[in-house]
Every structure is written in structure tokens, then in C-alpha cells.
Symmetry: C2
Subunit: 244 residues, 2 copies
DNA sequence: AAATTGTATATTGTCAACAATATATCAAAA
DNA sequence: TTTTGATATATTGTTGACAATATACAATTT
């Protein structure tokens, strides 16, 4: 019962309020509790977290640097609204970083890493058979987490995670069709083959293509889904020429 | 005469003190006025900038996110000390991002961009002949700025610039030998050829290799230069196994 | 009704003060 | 001389307050 309190105290000693608030705000944004464009009232947030506005503002500055919130002078902080073009660009960079991570993993992959990845692919196959997109989504994230972890490149990992967070700003989650899941998992299998073969150049190409294919799959499924946004179709139509 | 004042007021209206302080601190770190490991006394900085500690702390949080400063609970902020391993990792990521930028430029390069780059290569040749490493260094930065600018990919540009800033944390600037400058500029020429040919895959490979070669050249020149740091040789020797 | 003005409220940007922690100083003991 | 301990100082983490700005709302005019 007192555990919560002592935990809180211990945490309080180890981390500044700013760090705690920052992590919580980040979670709220990435999880979609706070939506793009939402105004972030400092007072309200401070009271909710039981702190003063200082730590809240400091946390916001960090999130601003991480591209999760924007600020307009004398108007405060807002959850960043990301345009389709910016989304595409985030995915571009994310793809090359993931490609790098895959290449690196291919040059030095452990038997255990291969086993973990193969297990996940099998589980994803099960999710496809069960037509459980939610489970597939979760396992898919895990797959990428594991590749990144075993690539053991802190800086690439950090950059990649930051880009992932940023891409969570777009939050039209539409259903993934079984056919697309199959396609995606086939790419996973190809990647693992490249890891096993130690073919860095191939792993890199496949990792990069897999990222971009994921983006295309997401974009297509959003475009097909008329229910998501009123103006979405218009935006998406213009999107093709968005990166000249 | 009143221009300064009105400018200052306009600036003050457009930007928060936090933004101003952040930019200035960033400049001071990147330019080496503040050196890695330096403690950043909030009071002192606040007084120097003529503001209170609040904006200074907010600026620090942003710089912390940008990896330029670190913080230890109850001890404050320090200019980040970057290990050789971390430096190498920053260059790794920077290389793939620059490769991406080069590939992109190759797919859509203007005659003007080619001309600007060729001019710069000629000027760098002049700098080499004049044995003026400082001029070469400046022109080299300009060369990369221009490739990035003409690639017109905001997110890649931003990521790249951030990584460049980070790599400025290591600041053993040793002399560049003429032979190395020649080598570097030959790579520039190869890049521009790839741009002109519109060969994205080649441009990418060359861009990436040029980045990594630049890192190697820097590392070698530091290693050869015994005068830079007392413990540098030891650190560099241990670099392979330095981060267990 | 629509637009405009004026006023009240809310929110931000900034600052100064306070308590908790870390660092520096110095005396006493081993 | 070095180490330990106690005390004073400096610095941080955090808070609450204040002025400037923006927003919301009512009254007024067109």
C-alpha cells in the first residue's frame, strides 16, 4: 500500500519532475490521448500532474525539439499537426535508418536473434490466420524493436525511435487487410533470410523497402477508407506530387 | 541609430527569450566557446543574457533533447561529453542520411545546382593549391549545405543538421594535409558526376562513402597529431573495445 | 443579421523567492 | 601530511506572482 508512495519518492529522487512530465506527455501524445492540433494548457496539465507550470514548460521544450509539439508565441503549445508531406518525409528518413540497422544486424547476427525473429514471424502468421490485425500490429512493432535492439547501435536506435514517435502523430488507424499482412510478413521473412545469410547489402535494401512498403500500405488503406476524415481524400489525392 | 532598438523589439516580439537563448547557447557550443564537459551555470548564463533562469532552463531542455547538453539531477547542465564510440555512431547515421540526400538530389538536379557545386569544387582546388585548410574547411561545409538545400527534403535536412551539430562536440581540429584535401575533393567531383548523370544509386553510395571517409580522415589526423590531447592517444587506441 | 468595438477573462512569458541538495571551506583528529 | 567531520556557501529544482498578450463575450453600430 505504501509502495506507491515510496516508489513515487524514489522516482522523485532519481528523476526531475520535468523528466516525469515529459515522459507522460510523450506517452499521451503517442498513444493518441492528446490529438494533433490540441492546445496544451499549461495550468491544466500542471494541476493534473500535481506540479507547477515550470516543469511542464521545460518538458514541452524538449517535446518541441522532438517535433511532437509546436509553439506559437504568446499562444502556447500545441500537439504538432503534421502534414502529409511531412509524414512522407519522416517515413523516408525512417526507411534509410531502418535500412542501416538491418544491414548492421546482418553483419553480426546471433542465433538467438534469428530465433526470436522467426518466432515472431510464426506468431504473425497465426495472427493473420486468426484475422487479428491488432495482434499483428503489436507483433510487428516487436519485430522492429528486436532488429533494432540486436543491431546494437545506440544512436541509430535513438534516431529511429524518435522518428517512430513522430509518425504516431498521424493517427488514422484503419484496418489492415489480411492480404496486406501477408505481404508484410513475407517481407519480414525475406529480411530474416538476409540476416541469416549475412548479406548486409540485401538486408539493407529489404529493410528500407519494407519501411517504405509499410508506409504505402498505410497510406493506401487510409485512402480507401472514406470514413476517416472529411478532407482526407483531397489531401491524399494531392499527395502524389508532394515530394518533387 | 534607432534601428538596433526597433530590430531588437521586432525580434523580441517574434521570438521568445527561450528561443533566443537557445540559439545563442547552441552557437556557443558548436563554435567551441563552451567546451565538452563544461558546467553550465544557470545564474551566470542568465545574467550574461540579461534574463532570468526560467528561459535559460527551457533552452537547456531543448538542447538536451538535441544531445548538445546533458543533465545530472541536482547538479545541473553540462556540455555533453561525447565518447569516441558515440562520435562514430553519429557519423554512421549522418552518412546514411547524407547518402539519402545525395540520391535524392541525383534524381532531380538543376543546372544551377550543378554549377554552384562545380564552382565550389574549383574554389576548393584553389584552397588546396594555396594550402589553406581553413578556407577548404569552410568551402567543404558550403558544398554539403548546397547539396542538402537542393535535395529539398526538409526532414532529412533537419536530421542532418542536427547530427552535424552533435559531431561538433568533438573539437580536436587538427591540420588537414594537402593530400587528404585532394582526396576529399576528388570525392566531391565524383559526387557531382553522379548528380549530373542522374545516377541515384551511385550518388547515394558516393555520398555515404564520402561522409565515412571524412570521418576516417578526421580520426586519422587526430590520431597522428600527438599534441592535441594528453590522453587522446590512449583513448583512440582503446577505441575498438571502449564501450562494453 | 452581420460586423465592429470595447471590456472582462484566461493564458502565456517572465521573473523573483524558497527549500533541498551539492560543493567548498576549514578545523580537528589520525 | 592526510583524512575526517562540521559548517558555510553556492546551485539547483520548484514554486507562486506579475505584466503583457490573446481570447471570449457582450454591447453597439451598420
Amino acid at each position: 500500500m505504501t509502495e506507491d508512495v515510496s516508489d513515487a519518492i524514489a522516482l522523485r529522487r532519481a528523476e526531475s519532475l520535468t523528466a516525469i512530465v515529459q515522459k507522460e506527455l510523450e506517452r499521451m501524445i503517442v498513444d493518441g490521448e492528446l490529438r494533433a492540433g490540441d492546445r496544451l494548457n499549461e495550468q491544466v496539465l500542471a494541476q493534473r500532474f500535481g506540479v507547477s507550470r515550470g516543469p511542464v514548460r521545460e518538458a514541452m521544450r524538449a517535446l518541441e525539439c522532438a517535433q511532437l509539439v509546436s509553439t506559437r508565441m504568446n499562444q502556447g503549445f500545441f500537439v504538432r499537426e503534421i502534414t502529409p508531406k511531412e509524414t512522407a518525409e519522416v517515413y523516408d528518413v525512417r526507411a534509410v535508418v531502418y535500412g542501416f540497422i538491418c544491414a548492421r544486424l546482418a553483419t553480426n547476427v546471433s542465433a538467438q536473434a534469428l530465433k526470436e525473429l522467426e518466432d515472431l514471424i510464426a506468431q504473425m502468421d497465426d495472427a493473420i490466420t486468426a484475422n487479428d490485425p491488432k495482434a499483428y500490429y503489436r507483433l510487428n512493432l516487436q519485430f522492429h524493436d528486436i532488429t533494432i535492439h540486436h543491431a546494437s547501435h545506440d544512436r541509430a536506435q535513438q534516431t529511429y525511435r524518435s522518428l517512430i514517435n513522430e509518425s504516431h502523430l498521424v493517427r488514422q488507424r484503419s484496418l489492415i487487410e489480411p492480404e496486406r499482412m501477408r505481404e508484410s510478413n513475407k517481407e519480414h521473412a525475406g529480411l530474416v533470410d538476409a540476416f541469416r545469410a549475412g548479406d548486409a547489402e540485401l538486408a539493407r535494401r529489404l529493410g528500407e523497402e519494407h519501411s517504405l512498403a509499410g508506409y504505402r500500405r498505410w497510406k493506401d488503406s487510409v485512402a480507401e477508407d472514406g470514413t476517416s476524415l472529411p478532407a482526407a481524400s483531397k489531401n491524399n489525392a494531392a499527395e502524389t506530387k508532394q515530394a518533387p
